[in-house]
Structures are given as structure tokens and as C-alpha cells.
Symmetry: C2
Subunit: 141 residues, 2 copies
């Protein structure tokens, strides 16, 4: 197919350092890395895509350990489809919960910033600080 990619190339294309790529491989996060005659790692375009996927998982808080498990399953082939899906499902749930929490935090930040606006505008501390009136959130529908 296309020209093989060397580790330096892969590093610049995925925004990681050469060190990190080798470390990722040692951690079992990069399947199917082959070597050339001189012992150098040779990658393909699929590795670029794989690392982009790994990046998504990492940036949404999946641990290296879980990524290792997932990668091992991928390397084992079709028999592991169910388990792979389970892992992604569990992760999706975590991400959903996180988005909810962060969205709530956003509201808190908004009201706190507002609080500072009021304070600066009036010159005196508003009584309705989020700290003392912790956001009237209704648990019921």
C-alpha cells in the first residue's frame, strides 16, 4: 500500500513524542507493530487512526489499564466482540455522567461569575452567593 511510517513520522502526525509512542507500545496500547530489517518499527496509516482513537479514550478519562485491556481484545480477534462492546458501553456511560457533571459545574461557574459582577457593580458583596444559597436545584420533575 502506502509507504511505511517511521516512529518519528508517527510522533509528529499524532502529536505524541517518540518516547511516548514506545512507552505506549510497551504498555500494550499499539497492536501489530512490525520491524524492518534493521529492527526499526514500521507503522501504517491504520496506526495513525488507532492512535487517534486511543487519544479520544485517554482524553475522556479512560485509564491506560483499561485501554490495554481493550487493545488486547482487539488483538485477539473476533471472539472478543462482546467484551469490547461492553468496555465501550461502560466508558460511554462514564463519559455521559461526566458531561452532566461538567455542565452543572458550568452553571455554578456562571452564577459565581455573575456574583462577582454584582459585587463589582454595587461595590458590596451580594448576599445571594452560591456558597450560602447553593443553587435552587429541584430534584423532582
Amino acid at each position: 500500500m502506502s509507504d511505511p511510517i517511521r516512529i518519528g513520522q508517527l510522533a509528529s502526525r499524532t502529536g505524541r513524542s517518540v518516547h511516548t509512542l514506545r512507552w505506549y507500545e510497551a504498555q500494550g496500547l499499539i497492536p501489530g507493530v512490525i520491524r524492518d530489517a534493521g529492527g526499526r518499527r514500521r507503522y501504517s496509516e491504520q496506526h495513525v487512526a488507532w492512535l487517534q482513537f486511543m487519544e479520544r479514550l485517554r482524553h475522556t478519562g479512560m485509564s491506560i489499564k483499561q485501554m490495554r485491556e481493550y487493545t488486547a481484545l482487539v488483538a485477539q480477534g473476533h471472539a472478543t466482540l462482546t467484551r469490547r462492546q461492553e468496555i465501550l458501553n461502560a466508558h460511554r456511560d462514564r463519559v455521559r455522567r461526566a458531561v452532566e457533571e461538567w455542565t452543572e459545574a458550568l452553571e455554578l461557574l456562571d452564577s459565581k461569575i455573575d456574583f462577582y459582577d454584582q459585587w463589582q457593580k454595587t461595590g458590596k458583596r451580594p448576599s445571594r452567593d452560591f456558597m450560602t444559597t447553593p443553587a435552587q436545584k429541584r430534584k423532582h420533575a
Copy 2:
């Protein structure tokens, strides 16, 4: 006012360990901690609220260092309002960006889970893997 709160109480009320609370204080994250005659820390309800706020900041990725800066400003009083607001503003921006990223990741996870569904249902690997067709996102309007 109300009864003073001891460190063990505060720990169970804020979901932190006693160790962590002392460490937080040493890091400059808990302002206005007074001691009783025996040298023990005495807290008030405000500390509970403060720690809940700190928790929000931490859980949305603010570093201890930034939280220390914010706490120091709060301890310095009214003169630091502008800077405090700036910090929260910058943090809000970061949280917003994170929510966007995590929401995109959610879509990726959805399509990947879908991909596994197809694979299991048909018994053969679908060609339209997210890896090879990386979500048709248009950069232009």
C-alpha cells in the same frame, strides 16, 4: 452560631479523608482554619460549602496550583475581585471546551458501539468502521 466542626466530621461530610483535608490546608486550599485550646482545627459550615466548591473545581480539571491561587485571592479580600473573576472565567472556557470534546467523543463511542452491533448481527466486520470513515465532520459552515 452553630457548633464547631472537627476534622473527622468535616472529612465525612465532604467525602474526603482526614489526611487529605490536612494536606489541602497545607496546600493553601482552605482559608480561615482556626484552632481550639488544644491545637485542634475547628471548622464552620462555610468550610463545608467551600470544600464543595473546591470539589467542583477539582472535578472539572482545575489544578491544585490554580485552586491555591484562587484561595489566596479570596483570603486577601475585596481588592482581588477582578483577578478572581478572571480565573473563573478562564476555567469556564476550559470547561466549555471540554464539554464539547467529550460530547464529540460520545458520538464516536456511539458509532463504534453501533459498529460492534452490526458486526455481531451480520457475523462479518462492517466496512464503515469509524476508523476508516472518521465521521464526516465539515469544518466549513
